[in-house]
Every structure is written in C-alpha cells, then in structure tokens.
Subunit: 338 residues, 2 copies
DNA sequence: CTGAAAGCGCTTACAG
DNA sequence: CTGAAAGCGCTTACAG
C-alpha cells in the first residue's frame, strides 16, 4: 500500500535479490518455464517483487512484445445510450480477456472517423471494434489490407471481407411491420436515416417486403432524414405522413434516436397512441417505458453483440483468420403503442 | 492511401534520404529548431515521410518521453446516460488537447475501482479523471501521494488534497426543495443513495436545511437505498413514504437512476403527478420528457464539468501544482411534475 | 540453472 | 549544420 515516489523497476528487484533482470522477468512471467529458475531464488524474487510493489510498465512491454492489449472502440456517439450500453458490455468482455478499451466517437462523420483510426493505429491498438459511419469504406479497406484485426459491429460494409456482428435488420423491421399489419394497420409509414450503410437498407427492405407480401405495396411510404438535421427532418417527415394526403395509421421508427424524436413530435401534436397511430421503435431506451403508451420496440441483443464482437476480435488478434459474419435475432417487444 | 504491409519507420525515411534517424526525428518534430537542418534536406525528409505515409509509433514515443498522451477516465457506469454524456464531453475536450481516453466502469465497487486504477497506472496514463466510488479513499490517497495528476469529478473526497469539479449539490437540492415548498408542498420526502460520498450528504443537507428554514423540520423524511438493490429499495422507500402514516405530498429523487426507478414506481401505482405528489428529479434524462407529467429536474452543467476537469488535469500534467475546487451552479428546470 | 546482450522505435543530450 | 550513441523498461533468443 505504501508505494514509493518512483515506480519499482525490474532492475530494482534484480539488484535487491542479486540476480539479472532476465531471471526476474522469467520468474514473474512464465510460471511454466520456471524450471529455469531455482525454487529458492524464484521464491525470493516473488517476495521482493511484492515487497516493492512491483507492477510491470505496460508501455515497455508493449513496445517489446508488439502488443498493447488494447482495443480501439469506435462508435457513433458514446453519449447515445445504445452505444453507451454496447460499450459497457464490450468493456466487460474485454476486461475479462485482459484488454482495455480506448473509445472514440465519430458523430457519423467519416473525417472524425479517419482521424480516430489513425490515432489508434499510432497507439498500436491490437485491434478495432468499429461502428462504421457513412463514407468510411476506404479506412476500413485500408485496415483490412494491412491485416489489422477488426470487427464491424451494428453495421457492415458490403464488398469488404471484414468480420461483422449485427442485427438481422431485415427480419427486425419485417417482424415489426407484420405485427402492425396483424393488428389491423394498413397505411404504415417508416422514418429512416439517409445513409449508404446497409443496415438502413435492410431495415427499409424488411419494411417494404412485409408491405408487399401483404398487398400493401401502394401504401409504402419511407422518408429518410439527415443526421445533422434530425429534429427538423423528423418533424417534416411526420407532418407529411399524417397529412390528409397520406394519413398513415402506423409508423416504424428506424433507430433509437429517430424513435425518440418521433415520439416527441407525436406528443407535442397530441396524436393519440395507439388509437390514431400505432408506433414501433428501434432499440431499447428508458424513455420508451415512460411514454404514456409504452412503446413497442425492436430489442437488439446488445450483450450478445458485444460478446461476439470481442470474441471474434480476440481470435483474430491471436492469429485465427476466419472471417465471421454474424446476424443476431431481434426480439419484438409488444406493448401498448401498437 | 496505399500503405504497405509494414509500418514505415523513422529508419526507412532516414535510409531513403540518406541521413540519420536523428535528423528525421528533429525535422518531423521540432519545427522551431529546424535551423539544425538544412532547408533542402528538411524538405526532402518531409516529402519522403509523406510518400511513405509515415506516422510515429506512439508506444515508442511514450516509452522514451515518459508521457502517453492518455487520460484514464473512471466512471461508475459508462452505460448510464449521465456518465455517457459526461464521457463524451470529456472525449471532445481531451481530443482537442491531443489526449485519448481509456475508459473503465466501477459499478460503484471499490474492488473494481482498485483494479482499474492499477491497470491504468501500468499503462502509464498521464493522469486520471475519476468519479470516486464508496471506499476508494485509499486508492485516491495513494495516487495523490505519488503525485499522479488527478481530478475527481461529480464527487469529492474530503480530507484529500485533490482537485475536484462537481455540482454545488447543497444548492441543488436546497433550490429544489424551496421550489416545492413555494408550490405549497409541505410533506416532502427524499430518496437518496446510501453512500459515504459527500455529494450525497450535501444533497441531503440541502434538502434538510430547506425544510428547517421553512419550519418543516418535523416533516423531514429521508430514505437511503442501496445500489445493489435499487429496484426493491426504492419501491419499499416509496411505499413507506406514501403510506397513510407519512403521506408525503412531494418527493425529491437524488440521482438520475433514482429518478427513473421512482417514476417507474409512481407510474405502476397510478399516483397522480403532480396532483397527488410533486416530483423533482436529478440530472437530465430523455425519459423525463416522456413521462406524462414531464419531470422537473436539477440540471447539471455536464459540458462545463467535463471541460473544467480536462483543463485542470492537463494543467497538472504540465506541472502546474494548483489544487482546484470547483463547484458548478445547478439549474432547476421547472416543468409539470411539480 | 543462469547472465550478458540485443532489440522493440523512438528522442535527445553530446560531440564534432 | 549533422551523426553516433545512449537510453526509456521491458523480453527473449543465445551462449554458457
């Protein structure tokens, strides 16, 4: 408990015991190879190490070993509860495997993403877990070419042979829309993000095909809003959808944030849920529980997503070359809003 | 864009240009000292560096310089939106000053906290921003003794000369309770965490003194719940408070999570807000907006808190020895629930 | 069973 | 104006 001013070095132990630093290093690390070291000496080394409160300087270890035991986690925004809890699950899993996390947020901006990737590369992270943003294909491609261990999470980038772990987004909105239709809704709108990422495409495709398969092709109505202008865009999209011209009787909100903004609009405008409008959202959010008509939503298995992504990444770091594509099953939590 | 398999080293540039690595290092780093280097040579070095896509290996730099440009951020739980957004603001500020963040969560558990501190020390972080948990005094004391740059955020530990940035917690609940009293409430209860941390004490003290100053000393009713059993404890505390024996007409919920659990209870039990019970919560949460009676809450200036803590930490890292104690002003956002 | 030595990729006094 | 060399704190072949 009473550490000294200066950190204890391997050399301090070696000097005190009267052996070489090599021996100390061997003893403290390779328990199995310990035949190298006399039992007596080994014991003494360990004693002194504890006494001096020795802990290895990881930076020196990293430089020597070429491995930092660090994972770079790049998400859209760590303040977004969806990514926050994902980060937490990833943290738990990483910790249990001896890794720490350096976390960065992109705000869905490929410039920030590029800066982050470069910084983390220079920091010699052993691998990346990345929520890719629009237009970051080149960055990812580069990492893959350079054989940097990498797994994409939440979204993938087609045409790049990288591992990914994500929701079965098609099924997610297909199920949601099927559920709305079964509850008698016919004019179902969808609000999504304008994005080149396939997870959005898949969510839209799930919606569209569910509509088509139920003979509601003519009622398909999708609006894509911009991240940078989410507030206004959602408002306009909603306005348009509930206008007499379209008059939707249900709406699918394609992400956590869109669900929040959508609900907000509906509340402000006194739209009666579920009587006038059925609503299904995406991702869990504490706020969904407090809406007067608790929101029906598509629940992502975030913990599993986190676990799998760390597992796959660590495998890669350890030299296993498989590319894994994992699509997790969404769960539709039916509540009052639909 | 077309990086090679192997990362470019200083030596690669030196070889190609035909100078020593020293010269390359000087050129690429100390722009001011560049008189050292012939203008021609300097230009050539820079060209080649760009051509080979050179970026320095930060681990090697760190080992040599004894500085990692990394901040260890220890929070209670990164999945908690309060800490999530705090982390985000800290990230922004740190990035702008050239630092990266290694983030860890303690779950308010001093054992996890100790493990985290040790890991981050071994990783040679340049400094810590810590949300201290119960019983972590010794860890903090140790860091301070060892002159590790450090700032406590959100909470402080009395008796330790460490910088801190936190809310004026006394004022926060004093204002909240005064507001409730002005709205005609008299039997005001408070639900807090059982904690040895002073931020809780201060919140309770602000509540108590506001009650006393308004002649409501006899109505003081505080229940402290445990983190590990928050769900049940809040329920029991609430049950007791609304029971005929106590029959509170308002309640102050002393944190983000307590507010959430409290609201949940009130919803389940069909307590009419604000008619039967006035409610004031702590910290922003998207969920507060969606409660049928939007919650009155104490807003913390999280961005300012984040900014100040990074600024103070970086000053310390740069050798400035001041100990700063900053208490930020809370803002009471009055809405329908009170 | 044990130690001297090289090396990870940088930076920076030191000497010229 | 420039280079050879030491050193940050470790690990690990190599030699004995």
């Amino acid at each position: 408990m009473e550490k000294k001013e200066k950190k204890t070095l391997l050399k301090d132990i070696a000097d005190k015991v009267g052996v070489s630093t090599a021996l100390v290093s061997y003893t403290l690390n390779n328990l199995e190879k310990e035949k190298r070291v006399g039992a007596e000496i080994a014991k003494r080394i360990r004693e002194v190490a504890r006494e001096l409160n020795y802990t290895p300087n990881q930076i020196a270890q990293s430089l020597r070993k070429g491995s930092t035991k660090t994972i770079g986690l790049i998400v859209a925004d760590i303040a977004n509860p969806f990514f926050g809890s994902m980060a937490r699950f990833i943290e738990n899993e990483a910790t249990s495997m001896g890794y720490n996390l350096i976390i960065g947020s992109t705000d869905e901006d490929s410039v920030k993403s590029a800066a982050l990737v470069e910084t983390l590369i220079n920091r010699q992270v052993d691998g990346f877990i990345i929520v890719p943003s629009d237009n970051c294909e080149n960055q990812i491609k580069n990492l893959v070419q350079n054989k940097v261990p990498l797994v994409l999470v939440d979204r993938n980038i087609p045409g790049i042979t990288a591992s990914f772990v994500m929701l079965d987004n098609y099924k997610a909105s297909f199920d949601a829309v099927s559920h709305l239709i079964q509850s008698g809704r016919k004019r179902i709108g969808m609000i999504a993000y304008k994005s080149s990422m396939t997870h959005m495409d898949e969510r839209i495709r799930g919606y569209s095909e569910a509509m088509e398969m139920n003979g509601l092709k003519n009622n398909i109505l999708v609006r894509e809003v911009r991240h940078i202008n989410i507030e206004n865009d959602v408002q306009n999209a909603m306005d348009e959808m509930i206008s007499p011209k379209n008059k939707i009787d249900a709406v699918l909100l394609a992400t956590n944030q869109l669900s929040l903004k959508g609900l907000y609009f509906l509340m402000k405008n006194n739209i009666k849920i579920p009587e006038e409008l059925g609503v299904v959202g995406f991702d869990e959010n504490e706020a969904f529980d407090f809406f007067y008509a608790p929101l029906t939503y598509i629940k992502q298995p975030i913990n599993e997503m986190a676990r799998e992504s760390v597992r796959i990444l660590v495998d890669q770091i350890n030299g296993i070359k498989n590319v894994s594509h994992i699509r997790l099953i969404p769960q539709l939590i039916k509540r009052k809003s639909s």
